[in-house]
Symmetry: none
Subunit: 250 residues, 2 copies
DNA sequence: CGCTCACAACTGGTTTGACCAGTATAACAC
DNA sequence: GTGTTATACTGGTCAAACCAGTTGTGAGCG
């Protein structure tokens, strides 16, 4: 307050942080956006570094910094000698990895993850009931039938579980659901199998059957176009499943 | 099959891919591991680039490539002039960036994103109503009051909107919600402002007021511990908001 | 003595030009 | 045809330099 007319620190929220672009950052964004918008499809090649020098009017180290960023973000892969970096297919590995990182660092607890997953897939199941195509239904029915043949082999069954949930996400016609679903599935899977391995055979079989029945219920609701029912069934399924697992002790 | 004793292409999964390390990659891993293992804590500074030249016995461009990767991965932040890159606290931008990247690379339409966001924040609002602390309520109330003073300046208002939703996510006590919320806000923001900029002043003000009223409603429900009400209000808010924006034409 | 201010010694951002070890391709010999 | 070999690329790396900005320091002022 005693300062003349200079702004002091600790100011109100009048200013937004100014983003001073690094050249490499700008190049990164340009290429990233082009890929995201489909201007560059998976398998396509970027120009060679020396060609990009002319295109971006920037030096090679600068361009290389941008390439390293793109690489880290999972957009491209560069191999020496081979002409130009290759655009990678959309891949959730990065997402899954960073989520896994956050998990291991301990910022996200398994409980919170499970809770969010339950909510997410509950909604997704509802959408699936409204939007599933005949093709979706066929795929689910087929998978369910296959899963039904493995009721006594929980490992096999658990292996296929993510696929079933994945089909639902696909049927929901929302890409965000699909991506998150895959991430959740992957993160939960190890946990799931290890917990089930602790059970005795009797319990494993009982649980597998319970799970399968819920899957059938969910499928029936989705087939009937019953969004409410599908959501409810999914919520019960995931909640019950969580309880089942946590009962195993610890 | 007819080849003598040489291995043909398309071989089985006998070999693991050999990883020929780039120098910058090796440096990246060294620093990343040091940070992950706690050898470098958030707030610490890396040595200056020129110092690292001697430590790693590598040239500056090489070291800079490693720094760009670390930056992209969310481990550090570099500011010009300031001595040495700063180690960031885990989880912060890291996850959001890879989430945003993964979302944008997956060719996700804004519609789908908005739909999922609506569902996600609806659930989150419900949790917030059940779990908000006094501190959470105070923060929301304060922010709402400040926002109420900018009803005629939609730019300012829109700027604070993500903060409000962020507070709700925080109150929901689910880290996944917080992270996703931030990601959604980030992705929606540019879109939002550009759409509102197309409106005439009258409409902007009317809309800002409508939005503010919904914010108040949501807050009231959360304060009252009314999960159903909070969820419902949030759903209405986001849905109405989407409709408002899409009316703008195109 | 304490404060201010200018200057030097940094910092990160960028460029240039060069070299190396590989790869792809096309011309060549067979 | 097939096999070989140049050659002209590619990415990976280095060195030295410049700029614009920050930080730290110390001289000089009050």
């Amino acid at each position: 307050m005693t300062s003349k007319d200079t702004l002091t620190a600790g100011e109100e929220r009048i200013f937004r942080p100014v983003e001073t672009k690094r050249a490499s950052e700008a190049i990164f964004e340009q290429i990233r956006d082009l890929i995201a918008k489909g201007g560059l499809k998976p398998g396509d090649r970027l120009p060679s570094e020396r060609n990009m020098i002319e295109m971006f009017q920037r030096s090679r180290p600068t361009i290389r910094e941008a390439l390293r960023m793109l690489e880290r973000a999972g957009y491209i892969r560069t191999v020496p000698g081979s002409n130009g970096a290759i655009v990678l297919p959309p891949n959730d590995k990065n997402l899954e990895n960073s989520l896994a990182d956050a998990l291991s660092i301990g910022h996200i607890s398994l409980d919170q993850l499970a809770e969010y997953r339950t909510a997410s897939e509950t909604v997704t199941a509802g959408w699936a009931a409204l939007r599933r195509s005949e093709e979706d239904l066929r795929a689910m029915e087929q998978l369910l039938e296959r899963m039904g043949r493995h009721l006594d082999d929980y490992e096999q069954y658990v292996d296929m579980d993510p696929d079933f949930h994945g089909l639902i996400a696909r049927a929901a016609k929302n890409t965000v659901s699909v991506i998150f679903n895959r991430t959740f599935s992957k993160l939960n899977r190890d946990y799931m199998t290890s917990r089930m391995a602790e059970m005795d055979g009797e319990r494993q079989r009982a649980m597998t059957r319970r799970v399968h029945q819920m899957h059938e219920t969910i499928f029936t609701a989705i087939k009937a176009g019953d969004a409410e029912g599908a959501s409810a069934a999914m919520r019960i399924h995931l909640t019950a499943f969580r309880d089942d697992l946590s009962q195993t002790g610890r």
